[in-house]
Amino acid sequence: MKKTKLLSNLYLVIIFLFLYLPIFVLIVLSFNESKKAGSNFTGFSLKWYKELFRNELIMSSLWVTLKVAAISTVVSTVLGTAAAVGIHKMKKFSKSIVMNVTHIPIMNPEIVTGISMMLLFVFFRNFFHYEFGMVTLVIAHITFSTPYVILNVMPKLRQMNPHLYEAAQDLGCSPVQAFWKAVLPEIMPGVISGALMALTYSIDDFVISYFTAGGASSQTLPITIYSMVRRRINPQINALSTLLFVAVMLILIIKNVIDESRQKQTEKRGGGF
């Protein structure tokens, strides 16, 4: 038994080395003074970080990324939550059709989704006058993130007591009030996790943005990264990777701590709800 334990621990170590070593190397190199990336470590320096913050293209595309993510998250959360409520009430047949279509952007390869949206925007240009830019980009992001909101909210609606909505109305709520006061608090965890997924997918997306963005004014951070690294090593990107990795790590640690303390609280209350 001890032998299998040892073997499985060894296996875990190897996997974690595989997963983390590349990132670790980037972090070390981001502090390397040498201009030639990938060369020996010639001395500790923060100059790539300084250059990174002085790089206007990176800063402006970071801003674009955050703007697009904020708008598309808000719109897709509202659109998706409303849709989930409506779909939940549908008959089985129409529900299954709508859900199948909802799965299309998730199942389709990203490149096909990106191209299909680009063709749409190209085709519409025959009738309207506009350029590829923020608007096309935001529309594309809303389109691929709304399904995730729906898929997160639907299970919560299913778990909810179906009479809650009617009870609220019996007690004098208008349908809208009943939604805000009875339904929404019940499905809130699903709405939040859906919104978070929409946000992360939007910030992280490259492929679909690549096909639907316009010029520099709508260039997201992943697009800028791609243009910087597709052929050569760039030490500024090492610095950027390090910062993003640290940011992600902090967010996940904080989230974990919050989750754990919440869990302890429910345990103290004797479990249940």
Binding site: P22, I111, S116, L119, I139, I142, T146, N152
Partner: protein, 270 residues
């Protein structure tokens, strides 16, 4: 009931921005540049057979490697204490939260001819090896980027396998190989199928990994499409035609996989 109306804006959105664009892929794919119906572009697909085969072949290898790596890992994770499991899973997923391009870029730094690995090998007097711009590098990039997609579904089916089922098989005289073949693998089949689809689909359609790690000589389907749409050989119709073929191929694979997988998918995606 009024609340059905709540879905109306989404239904319109979906029709305009999901269904119409897909229709346009077929429209462009089945017409020539003047807008006349033609299957010329589709019939030109024969020219690209080698690219299709290369894409499929590399994606298959990457998927198999992912399965081999992820299967024991998912099993080990699923047998840990519940407290440890959460942390371990977080550690497995953490690199996934870094942008895909940066993860691929990390391997560029490692694999380059004067990159980190060759430098280290140089100290022991080996190399330099030509590692970047090879098909091996592409497969490595696919495995590194997509292996979490294999781990997650496998892990989530394996946590449902009760230890007592395994013990029962052992009590009835199974050796560990029989336990694996007759109990664990059959019970984890839905996870295997989901994992295969989730690794294979992005692998077969990628253009970034092949561009960054494969150099110019190892074009994949994704590169071919991208080249028609945004690249030098601008031809939307041909790009759309190739997309149709790719899409149909992937839906066929998914249909086959779904045959084995009758479980609810919803939890997997989340």
């Amino acid at each position: 009931m009024k609340s059905k109306l709540a879905a109306a804006p989404y239904l319109i959105w979906m029709a305009v921005f999901t269904i119409v664009p897909l229709g346009l892929v077929f429209y462009y794919g089945l017409t020539d540049q003047d807008g006349n119906f033609s299957i010329d572009n589709l019939s030109r697909m024969g020219m690209y057979t080698n690219i299709f085969f290369r894409s499929i072949w590399l994606a298959v290898i990457a998927t198999v490697v992912c399965l081999i790596i992820a299967y024991p890992l998912a099993f080990i994770l699923s047998r840990m204490d519940t407290h440890k499991q959460g942390t371990m899973l977080l550690l497995v997923m953490l690199p996934m939260w870094m942008n895909f391009l940066l993860r691929t870029y990390a391997w560029m730094t490692l694999l380059e001819t004067n990159g980190v690995i060759n430098k280290i090998l140089g100290f022991v007097g080996l190399g330099p090896f030509e590692m970047i711009n090879t098909q091996g590098a592409i497969v490595l990039g696919m495995v590194y980027n997509y292996v979490p997609f294999m781990i997650l579904p496998l892990y989530s089916v394996m946590t449902k396998i009760d230890n007592s089922v395994i013990e029962a098989a052992q009590d009835l005289g199974s050796n560990s190989r029989q336990v694996l073949m007759k109990v664990i693998i059959p019970l984890s089949k839905p996870g295997i199928m989901t994992g295969i689809t989730m690794v294979f689909v992005p692998s077969v359609s990628t253009f970034i990994i092949s561009r960054m790690l494969g150099g110019g000589s190892n074009m994949l389907i994704g590169d071919l499409i991208e080249q028609q749409i945004l690249g030098t050989s601008y031809n939307l119709n041909l790009g759309a035609s190739i997309s149709i073929v790719l899409m149909i191929f992937i839906f066929m694979i998914m249909a086959v996989m779904n045959q084995f997988d009758d479980e609810e998918m919803e939890g997997m995606i989340i």
